[in-house]
């Protein structure tokens, strides 16, 4: 137990650690291939080798994120032993009972296990990147549909704003938006009567909210899902009042509940919430991505709105929002799904960039960008702390790109 493991042994042990992922992958593929004719575009993915390879890589990381607790060999934030930067396969000195005996992929400058940090980091990346991309899509679609369909002044103003954001060098924007100073700057809104009390005429405790730029941006950006789903359901069911009231009502209740928690950190139950740093990063990434989605949606809508089925709906007397959301949007789904996959990859890269410049969620967070940043200080002498998360990030983005390519190919066939 005192020897350094050889590389084949390291790989064998890692493969063993990943066992839940292999089981899940085999099940997913077996079931999907068995029923692929009934699964629409998703099923057709399994006709394209490129798409299948991409899907396999993406699902590998998704399952890794899901089973991270089982796969990780050590707690990701704990210092194990006192040797700095142990090499891959180094045995742990003075082993405690029940502890995993090796640093599979070595340790970093604080003697934390790199393998475990990579695995737990996958969870962070795979929660933030798809969530931020989804928000960016909802914002981009909600604004892009009317801009493309109605045109006019609305289009001019929105396009100008989108181009404004796009003309900003991304890194500069991050450096300006994701800083500790900006979180603290703004009018403080203090409502002591919400959960606080009055002491000698001065409010104590209760609800406090700083109108800082990230908070304001969150307050604006996070309304869009409520608007989107509200209009979506309203335009579909407005002829059937009871059904409409039920659906829109449920959307509003859940939406406003989540909104109060996410944007104002004031969820009375405490289910929804985000730390100020995470909120800052999240908002910055959504803000950078939304204008591109807006431009794509606008372009597709301008192409589709001259089709016959749109004219038919117009002749039927359907309202504009119904046409946009239930006639145009479903027919624009092909390119949007492809772009969604690509954009999750791009968002992963952006999050990594933020982490790389030390602007991430927190300095000790195991997300890949931050670990690459921490590892790149001593890169030429001790490369393994940076190379492992770098390869992980690259493989995830590669998987997403291959998946998007496969989807594009298959969706163009019909």
């Amino acid at each position: 137990m005192t020897d350094i493991l050889s590389w084949p042994m390291i790989f064998a042990l890692m493969a063993k650690q990943f066992w839940p992922v292999w089981v899940a992958l085999v099940l997913t593929f077996a079931l999907s291939i068995r029923f692929k004719r009934r699964l629409g575009l998703y099923g057709k993915l399994f006709d394209s080798p490129v798409g299948m390879a991409g899907f396999a890589i993406v699902m590998f990381w998704v399952f890794t994120a899901v089973f991270a607790d089982v796969i990780a060999t050590m707690p990701p934030l704990d210092q194990i032993g006192s040797v700095k930067n142990p090499l891959p396969g180094t045995p742990v000195v003075d082993l405690k009972p029940g502890q995993f005996p090796w640093f599979l992929l070595g340790g970093d400058h604080l003697a934390r296990d790199i393998f475990s940090r990579m695995v737990v980091g996958a969870r962070q990346v795979l929660i933030i990147a798809p969530a931020a991309t989804t928000f960016a899509f909802i914002v981009g679609i909600t604004l892009g549909l009317p801009a493309g369909y109605l045109g006019g002044k609305l289009d001019t103003v929105l396009s100008f704003l989108a181009n404004l954001v796009l003309a900003f060098p991304v890194i500069l924007l991050f450096y300006l938006l994701v800083t500790p100073e900006i979180v603290k700057t703004g009018y403080v809104i203090h409502l002591w009567f919400l959960g606080g009390h009055l002491e000698n005429g001065v409010g104590v405790g209760g609800f406090t909210w700083i109108a800082s730029i990230p908070n304001l941006m969150a307050a604006v950006l996070f309304v869009f899902p409520i608007i989107f789903f509200g209009i979506l359901l309203n335009s579909r069911f407005h002829t059937n009042r009871p059904k409409r009231n039920l659906y829109v009502g449920v959307t509003l209740v859940i939406g406003i509940w989540a909104y109060s928690g996410l944007a104002f950190n004031a969820d009375p139950v405490g289910v929804w919430g985000m730390s100020p740093n995470l909120l800052n990063v999240f908002v910055a990434v959504v803000f950078v991505n939304a204008p591109t989605v807006f431009r794509i949606v606008r372009g597709i809508v301008m192409d589709i709105k001259s089709r016959d089925y749109v004219s038919a709906a117009q002749t039927r007397g359907e309202r504009s929002w119904y046409i946009m959301l239930w006639e145009i949007l479903p027919n624009a789904r092909g390119p949007l799904i492809v772009d969604y996959c690509l954009r999750i990859g791009y968002t992963t890269i952006l999050l990594g960039t933020l982490g790389f410049f030390g602007l991430g969620v927190s300095p000790e967070s195991p997300d890949w960008g931050s670990t690459i940043n921490a590892g790149s200080k001593l890169l030429s002498m001790i490369p393994h702390p940076a190379v492992v998360p770098a390869l992980a990030l690259m493989s995830l983005v590669l998987g997403l790109n291959l998946l998007a390519d496969g989807l594009r190919e298959e969706s163009m066939k019909d």
Partner: protein, 361 residues
Amino acid sequence: MLNFVIRRLAVMVLTALVLTFVVFYLTNLGPNLEKLARSEGSVRMTDDSVAAWIEQNGHGGSVFYRYAEWLGVAPGWVRVDDKGVTRGLCIRQNDDPALAPQFCGILEGNWGFSTVFKNPVLGVVGRAMAATGWLMLAVMVVMVPTALLIGVLAGMREGTRTDRVLSTFSIASSATPEYVSGVLLIALLASPVTGLSPIFASWGWLSGRNLFLGTATSAMDHITFWNFALPVATIALYGVGYIARMTRASMAEVMTQQYIRTARLKGVGFREVVVRHALRNAMIAPFTVVMLQFPYLLNGVVITESIFNYKGFGWTLVKAAGNNDIELLLGCSVIAVIFVLATQLISDIGYVYLNPRIRLG
């Protein structure tokens, strides 16, 4: 055409004004100014003296007015301090206040003073731009021909094995951001302990310890293949994939056109068809892409210069942002914004020139 250019320029100026205002506002937030006061004045200042310092050095008052001052369209501030010395934005030390100009913003060429480098911003940015210019030039020289070649080779016979291999390569390259490829390239080629260098050294092929140098600081004075190859490769690798994919798509589309079939049926050889008939039309879309790639290149430059410690524009920007050097950061932003807008304009005009089907009134 002239109308189009004028309208585009007007929008551009408006965009530049809005963007620089946003940067000005965000860099001049209260906490930033307090930090500046403490670093320029003294660390142990009381809150009152911090407020006084901010007021005394022209950072107080409306942000719009200060923006106009900084831009050089409003008269610069003038204050008389407690020793009776008149100081102001436009008054240099030991100069007669009466002779100082009234306006001195960036429009008059006064870009301020960098607190990190202890030098005028214009000089710092100028030197950094020159260094980055060489880097960008090298990247363009490597990236564009490689990407176009890969794209044309892949797109001229769609679906063949060549196409599959090259397409997979371009997908992989666009999945490798600079901070990943930089790390991997250094570990593979510039580390004395891992990758290829120790192997080559043990075979006796290598006189030094590394194949390439992992830092490009020495390239500031003297560019060699040894110290410049890795940073250039790092930036080029990420860009190649995207341009190659666009070129491939454009080439593949052109190859299905009627006039290509006509040329083939006339008996023109395949090579001749590709070079003489297809290439020019297939280059229209990639031209736009290459021009629009410049803003992303700027991103890559910032990351790469930080990794390789090459003291160019990106490195300066990071230093300015990290050290609360407000005037330097503003200067960098102005350059970055103008750069991005100019590439967008060139891309639009070039597109119209290359594609005679588009006529703009």
